[in-house]
Assembly symmetry: C2
Homo-oligomer: 212 residues x 2
Amino acid sequence: MQDSYIDLHEAILKRRDTRHFTAEKVPEATLLKALEAAIQAPSVGLSQPWRFIDISSWDRQKLTDNFQEQRFRAEAQISDPNQLATHKQLKLSGIIEAPILLAVYCEYPEIETYTIGTIGNPRALEWSCACAIQNLWLSLTSEGFGAGWVSILDLAKLARQMAVSDRWEPLGIICIGRPATNYGGRPMLEVAQWRNAKKNIENFYWRHSTEQ
Amino acid sequence: MQDSYIDLHEAILKRRDTRHFTAEKVPEATLLKALEAAIQAPSVGLSQPWRFIDISSWDRQKLTDNFQEQRFRAEAQISDPNQLATHKQLKLSGIIEAPILLAVYCEYPEIETYTIGTIGNPRALEWSCACAIQNLWLSLTSEGFGAGWVSILDLAKLARQMAVSDRWEPLGIICIGRPATNYGGRPMLEVAQWRNAKKNIENFYWRHSTEQ
């Protein structure tokens, strides 16, 4: 564990979805600190359903093939030629170059196991895993490293290749390394003129005073 | 915006799933700062699908009725009498007493709208919302406040009562206020002897060196 110190809100603002990495190795202590942060996340019914598997040593080309196939499938859905042209130029993953790749899964409990809080929606388990990923991401940011969450994948195929239990739901691959850029402190998709992020909470927050 | 300063990892460790609140009001600046943190979360394809609706002024009894119904439904699934007895004694929400209640939704885009990163699993949108909730939660923790995520609800019924779009998927209610206790710095469900959290990353992290 290192002794770096960063303000929470500064880390939240600095976190970027990184797709450009340098070749610099990630110190094991940094990765372990981030994983320690991840497992402090809230989890529905204290289920701790997150599973992280380091697949850094895999043949990256096979992962990239999976990614590219799904990217082409996605691009077939774009009817606007200008949007398609922009999309084709986007760098959407750092799978090839990121020093560390973590596959992330949500383990659903055995059917007979009772878990508090899943009666409203069992996907609350996946939401817990996302909270853990966010902790991991913030921790890496605080240490000067970065991450990118790649979900343009045939996730079922990835799970088959990894031969995990069918109770393990794949959430994607987290690419981890030293960012080659911070995109000017803005979301990369904004810099690439794909889409502008809305900045004001008025777009996302309302008061609902009248009960129906 | 306030000028409090807290180390990221300290906030991550201090965050608790709070179900016991004092009557102290939450300053508006604190809530707004937490919402600003929330909307800095990563979102798949820069979709920013999170929607927060303040329902603090609602008739709490109706919300509690929804919660209690689902709690009883859940308890009917518990066959072990000791487990059931423990479960019945758990405080599982602060819906009645929390000064602020936020309903959280994930807005799915119109079917013809293309969103980057959702081809692997469209639920990536919900995962983005969970990251936003985690940011909100950490921000509140850093200001000495707390939150609890209540998912023991008939979520569809809640959405109907709020008359939201059917593209809005409910994720639950976040109860916000000043914690009456920090549960000794441990998960409340652990203190209540419901379940012990696993502390070591060895339970959640593996290296997978052999590609299948």
